[in-house]
Amino acid sequence: MMVWKTLTRWYHQLGSPRYFYRFSEVLLPWLWPIALLTTAVGLVWGLAFAPEDYQQGNSYRIIFIHVPAAGGALLGYVAMGVAGLVNLVWRMKMAEVMIKAIAPFGAVLAAIALITGAIWGKPTWGTYWVWDARLTSMLIMLFLYLGVMALINAIPDPRQAGRAAGLLSVVGVINVVIVKYSVEWWQSLHQGSTIKLTGGSTMPAEMLTPLLISMLGIYLLFAVSVLWRARAELLWRERKSAWVKELV
């Protein structure tokens, strides 16, 4: 009960633009150096200190950016879908702001996952690109991110734009499921997932640790980027309200 009460209080407080702005103001000076440091530690560890792979040699080191980017792009889209649903049901302003803040970095991460995957594919599979289920559905995810951004840009009224983008995100969530399970459903050339939530991961600790650290780092960078963009959007939307006028 206590947990539920705390959660709902947070939900309402963070849903209030003013509280969110203050909260992020306190959080960001800590969060962005931590995010940068975590990413740097994970990547340097993965690039320079992790052992090479018995089959792929050193080309496997690309996964230290590829896997976090792909994971972040998927997670970002799910977050956008959840925000879209919240907004459809409760018309919460913060959810609209969040969708607009998530989309750009989500698109960047989807692009990184595709580019690094292609570069890795050449020495490993023998081709930069195959039109198989996993790769194609990831490309669609990039297009969906770009579609959400295009829709927000095209609609002049920010509230209407946010709600429309929310609906599109909810519809596009179906693609996340396809990306996730494409490897199992359609014997894709892409291997199965290395990191499993249940059961053991198929990777020894000296490789897994830097991978998990870079993942955390990229996710934190995502959070920082979202907070910065959300703050900018909030300030602009609320520029006529008392709390913003007080602030400047």
Partner: protein
């Protein structure tokens, strides 16, 4: 019941029925081989139609790779532990192509035991290991974890 409620009920029943049938159809289609991917077992048992464009996957049999004296032609056998058939390919093989490795090939099944590949791609598994660990495992008599892996991947 007032008409508004009745309509809402009808909508919900309709949506659930539509989605239920859709799920049934998806389950049926998942039980079919809808992506033209065949394992050696399926090819040997004659499930794969001859002369058609398809994808095959399996492990390269140890000691089966033979290269043409002239040109780039390569012949090798592909297996999944149950069936085995021969693949011919002309071109540059990927780095990771080696005996015992899983591969995916695009091409045409000429006969029930002979496949002409247009493209050979190395399928990498989700198993990572430092080379020393792999060597130690091999010394101890485990050739990696590959046979299990092959089964898991459906090869």
């Amino acid at each position: 019941m007032n008409p508004l409620r009745k309509q809402r009920l009808l909508i919900i029943v309709g949506v659930l029925a539509g989605l239920g049938i859709a799920v049934g159809l998806v389950l049926y289609s998942l039980s079919q081989n809808i992506n033209l991917f065949y394992t050696p077992q399926q090819i040997v048992s004659g499930e794969a139609p001859e002369g058609a464009q398809m994808r095959v996957g399996g492990l390269v049999v140890d000691g089966s790779v033979r290269r043409d004296k002239d040109g780039l032609g390569v012949l090798f056998d592909l297996t999944d532990g149950v069936g085995t058939f021969t693949v011919r390919y002309e071109g540059i093989l990927p780095d990771l192509f080696r005996e015992g490795q899983g591969i995916v090939a695009n091409g045409t099944l000429v006969r029930q035991d002979y496949f002409e590949a247009e493209e050979v791609l190395a399928k990498h598994d989700e198993l990572y290991m430092p080379p020393e660990v792999q060597q130690a495992l091999e010394k101890a008599g485990h050739p990696g974890a590959k046979p299990e892996q092959a089964e898991k991947d459906g090869y």
